[in-house]
Every structure is written in C-alpha cells, then in structure tokens.
C-alpha cells in the first residue's frame, strides 16, 4: 500500500533514525551518554526556557480563550459577533509564523504603534520599563495571537456541550449559580480545558518560525537550538542533536496523547 510505504520511508524511518541515533555513540555503539548530555547547562536551559514559555503562553491562551468562549456562548452576545470572531479565529489560528511576527513588530516593537502611542499619549515608555517584544513576555504576547483563537475553536464544542437542562435541573434542585459551576459546570469542562491547555502547550513548544522572525536566532528555545545544530552542528556532536530531537518528540507526544485521552474522556460524558 503506497500510503504505508510513503509514510514509512519519509516519516517513520527518518524519525526512527534520529531516535536510534540518540542512543548511539558517534562510532555506533549503544549508549545513554547522549540522553545524559541533555543535562548539559546550555541544553537544559534551552528546555527550561521552552517549557516556561510554552507553559506561560498556553496558560494565558487557555484562560483568555476560555473567557472569550464563555462570553460569546453563554454571555448573551449577539450571534453575528460570535460568528465573526469564530471565523476570525479560524484565520488567526493559522496565521502563525513570519507574518505574525512582522505584525507584532509594527505593534509592540521599539517603533511599534502601541509602543509609540503609549509613550506619546500616556508618557509610558514600556521599553524603559524593561519590556521587549524580543523577550520572554513579548513572545508570550505574540503567541497569544494564535493561541487564544485556537483555544476558542477547540473549547467551543465543550462549552456548547454544557446542556441547558443541567443548569435548569441544578436550579430546580435549589443550587445557586456558583454551586452549579462548582459542582457540575467546572467538573464537566475540566478535562476539556486541561486537554486544550496541553494542545496549546504542544503548539507553542513546536513554534519556530515566529521566534526566528522576531529574535533572529538569539532566543534559544529548543527548536532554535535544534535548528542551529542542524545548520552548523553547534553542539559538536550529531548524536547529541538526535537526543535533543528525541526530547522534543517526547514532550510533544506526552502533551498530545494526554490531550487526546482527555478529549475522549470528555466526549464520553457529553453523549
């Protein structure tokens, strides 16, 4: 079957090559040295930075996306606003990469519209206060532009799945608004929200183009480090590069599989 051969040759085999390479010494013997090498300060710092950035951007994306979804679906917003924002989110969640970085440079860069306006109108120099678009929080704000829409899109079915009758049943049984959310609404949504958080985490973790366009190669998250390794073997050990890739795969797999697992669990409830 062509599909299986194609994916085997061009997807599974290359990845397996890296995975096996991660456990080999340069002369081909089995070793754990490469995996242990991930503890090297430069690499460990890189992972730690990636995890922190992905976590922060996923957390902000989850909270804001959830708030927005709640406002649009349960907050009595007009249908056209909801539809417009949903369509926009379909676009924005695909609007990652280089152009997004450009738009944010024009917004929050040193000469960006918001930066300049804040300085001229309010006298607030955000760069003077230590903010930089090309730093951790600058990246987190930029990521939010595709994270929040993605959250809105993936959490909408779950919020729509909260049946009106559950709320009514709770009310008829004497529950207050907060009791309903605490005992029914939040527990029902929890697996979906957690799952979506993990999806957002993985999404941020794999982001490369936006970072490169914003910071060049100065901001060494894991994908950047790997990118440089492929370009110029900056780790001076190809097998260590393989281990770096394997680490990425592992983090992405864990968060994606947990996402799928939690989504399945949530769907079981929402039949």
């Amino acid at each position: 079957m062509p599909y299986l051969s194609f994916t085997f040759i061009f997807l599974i085999a290359p990845v397996s090559y890296l995975v096996i390479g991660a456990f080999q010494s340069p002369d081909g013997r089995f070793t754990f040295d490469n995996m242990a090498g991930l503890a090297n300060p430069q690499i460990a710092a890189s992972y730690w930075l990636s995890i922190r950035l992905s976590f922060a951007s996923a957390l902000i994306g989850t909270v804001t996306g959830l708030l927005l979804a709640h406002a649009l679906i349960l907050g009595g917003m007009p249908v056209w606003i909801r539809r417009a924002l949903t369509t926009f989110s379909g676009v924005a969640s695909n609007f990652a990469g280089v152009p997004l970085a450009f738009a944010f440079i024009a917004t929050l860069g040193r000469l960006g519209l918001v930066t300049v306006t804040m300085k001229d109108l309010l006298g607030i120099n955000i760069y003077g206060m230590g903010f930089s678009l090309f730093s951790f929080w600058g990246l987190a704000i930029t990521y939010l532009y595709f994270q929040m829409p993605l959250m809105l899109l993936v959490i909408t079915p779950a919020i729509e799945g909260l049946k009106k009758e559950w709320r009514e049943a709770a009310e008829s049984l004497g529950a207050s608004d907060s009791q309903y959310w605490r005992l029914v609404g939040a527990p029902v949504l929890a697996p979906s929200v957690l799952g979506c958080f993990l999806l957002l985490f993985a999404n941020a973790f794999g982001t490369l183009a936006t970072v490169i366009a914003l910071t060049g190669s100065n901001f060494s998250v894991v994908p950047i480090l790997l990118f440089q390794q492929i370009r110029g073997n900056v780790l001076y050990n190809p097998n260590l590069g393989y281990a770096l890739a394997l680490g990425m795969i592992l983090i992405m797999s864990v968060s994606n599989f947990l996402y799928l697992f939690l989504r399945q669990r949530a769907e079981r409830w929402q039949k």
Binding site: M1, P2, Y3, L4, T7, F10, L11, A13, P14, V15, Y17, G21, T64, L68, H70, A71, L72, L74, G75, G76, M77, I81, L85, T87, F88, G90, V91, F95, G97, V98, P99, A101, F102, A103, I105, A106, T107, G112, L113, V114, Y145, P149, R167, D177, A202, G206, L208, A209, A213, G216, P223, L226, F227, I230, R231, A245, I249, M252, S253, N256
Partner: protein, 273 residues
C-alpha cells in the same frame, strides 16, 4: 442567564476584538509609511518589484501545489480503501496521519536530511531536483493530518460503503465508481484539505530553510532582517491571503454536490425538475 453579567462578557469580547485588531491596524499603518511624511503604497510596490520576491513566491506556490496533488493522490485512495475493505487498518492509518502533529517539522527535516543525505542509499539532498522533491515530500507529511481528516470526514458524511454497493449492483466498474461517484461527492472535502495544505506550506520556514530552498518563508525572514516597511506590507498581504483561503475553504466545505464554484468536465448539468 441572559439577564445577568452582560457587562462582563461585553468587556471580554471588546478586549479580544481590540487585541485581534490592533496588530493588524498597526501593521497596515506601518506599511503605508515608507515615504516620509505621507501615506503611500510604496512598500507594497517595493515588494512586488523585487524579483527575488516573485521567484520565492512562485517557487512556494509550485511546491505547495505539488504537495496538494501528491497528498490528495496519496490520501484519497487510502481513505477510501480503508473505509471499504480494511477497517481493521483504520486505527493504524489514522495514527500515522496524526504523527506530524507530534513531530515538529524541524525534527522531521532533521531526520530526512540525515536519512537522505550524501552518504545514504537514496541521496536526495545531493541534487537540486532531489532536494525539491524532499521539500514537497516534507510538505505532504506536514499537511497529512489535515488532508487525511478532511477527506476522511468527507467520506464519513456520505456512507461510502453503501454508495459503492449501490453502484456495483447497478453494474458500474471500480474505476467508474471512484471517478463518477466517490470523487464528486468528496470533492468539497478534498478542496478544503487542499486550501489548508496551501496555507500551511506557502509560508513554511523550517523545512525550506534547512533544505536551503529559496522559498517564500526564508525570503520573508530575510526581508524582516533587511527592511523595515516591506515586512509590514507582507504581513498584511499574508493575512488577507489567509482570509481568502479560509473563506474559499468554508465555501467549499459548505457546498452541496451539484452546486459548485467550478464543475468537473464529466459532470453534466442536470435540468431542474
């Protein structure tokens, strides 16, 4: 629940709209300021006059189109066959199609470069066309999750098995079934998968850059380092293009068989009853 807290949701929605709108406005505003003291479209003109831009864009469009064609040819028969004859293989095929979501493109291209590098049995990266081929293959892999899901959903919507049996009972050959029954019915799904593929591949950076292709993604990054106003113009154009692609995709996804943005040659227009 409509009677309470209308202020909260309104504020949240307003804040979101502002957050979404401001960067676009800022980029647009910035893109008009190339000529000092006046608003002009000079940045857009400058972009289009750049021969490198045209070459890079053309190259990426061709690569994306090739990836769409290759991807569709790979996915459609597979999805059909799996639904019809090999439902047991379904979890495997579906799992493989989701793998690219787990494996970052940097990792994928890393593996491919090592695997098909100069010292391997299939040294694709040594020749120009081989590298181009590897780029297209990378794009096919990258868009596999989207393509497969679009096509598979399309097939799920039209009970493929029964349609095939109905056509066979009427005496149609297998090829005829695929081309006159199956394909027209999932055309909308394939097209929507194609648009998604296109929007992913057109500005793709990691694979193109690591294969040293002068594609659109690396071009944009380079431009961002060299110029000030043109990148903003590019951002606006990319965003508009993404809108158009998503709009077309929605239009196709909602399209019912028979009505169409375009018609395939073997489909005759049926008179209205």
């Amino acid at each position: 629940m409509n009677r309470r807290f209308r202020i909260g949701p309104s504020l949240v929605t307003l804040a979101a709209i502002l957050y979404f709108f401001v960067p676009l406005y800022a980029a647009f505003q910035f893109s008009l300021q190339m000529k000092r003291g006046e608003l002009s479209l000079a940045a857009y003109g400058s972009v289009f006059q750049d021969g490198v831009f045209i070459n890079a864009l053309t190259f990426s469009i061709l690569a994306s189109a090739a990836a769409i064609l290759f991807g569709a040819l790979l996915v459609v028969p597979t999805a059909y066959w799996v639904r019809l004859r090999l439902p047991k293989l379904r979890p495997v095929v579906e799992f493989i199609s989701l793998l690219p979501l787990i494996i970052p493109s940097v990792v994928l291209v890393f593996g491919q470069i090592r695997m098909f590098g100069s010292s391997s049995i299939l040294p694709l990266t040594t020749s120009d066309w081989g590298t181009n081929l590897l780029l297209v293959i990378g794009y096919v892999v990258l868009s596999l999750p989207y393509m497969f899901r679009a096509v598979d959903n399309g097939m799920a919507a039209i009970d493929i098995a029964t349609l095939t049996e109905a056509a066979e009972s009427l005496g149609a050959s297998r090829a005829r079934i695929v081309f006159t029954i199956i394909f027209p019915n999932i055309r909308a799904a394939v097209v929507s998968g194609a648009f998604l593929t296109f929007s992913i591949c057109l500005g793709e950076f990691a694979i193109a850059s690591l294969l040293n292709r002068s594609a659109f993604g690396p071009y944009m990054v380079q431009l961002g380092q060299d110029r000030a106003y043109e990148p903003a113009a590019l951002a606006i154009m990319s965003f508009a293009l993404t809108w158009v692609l998503m709009g077309l995709m929605q239009a196709f996804a909602n399209m019912k068989p028979g009505q169409g943005l375009f018609r395939l040659p073997f489909q005759k227009k049926s008179p209205r009853p």
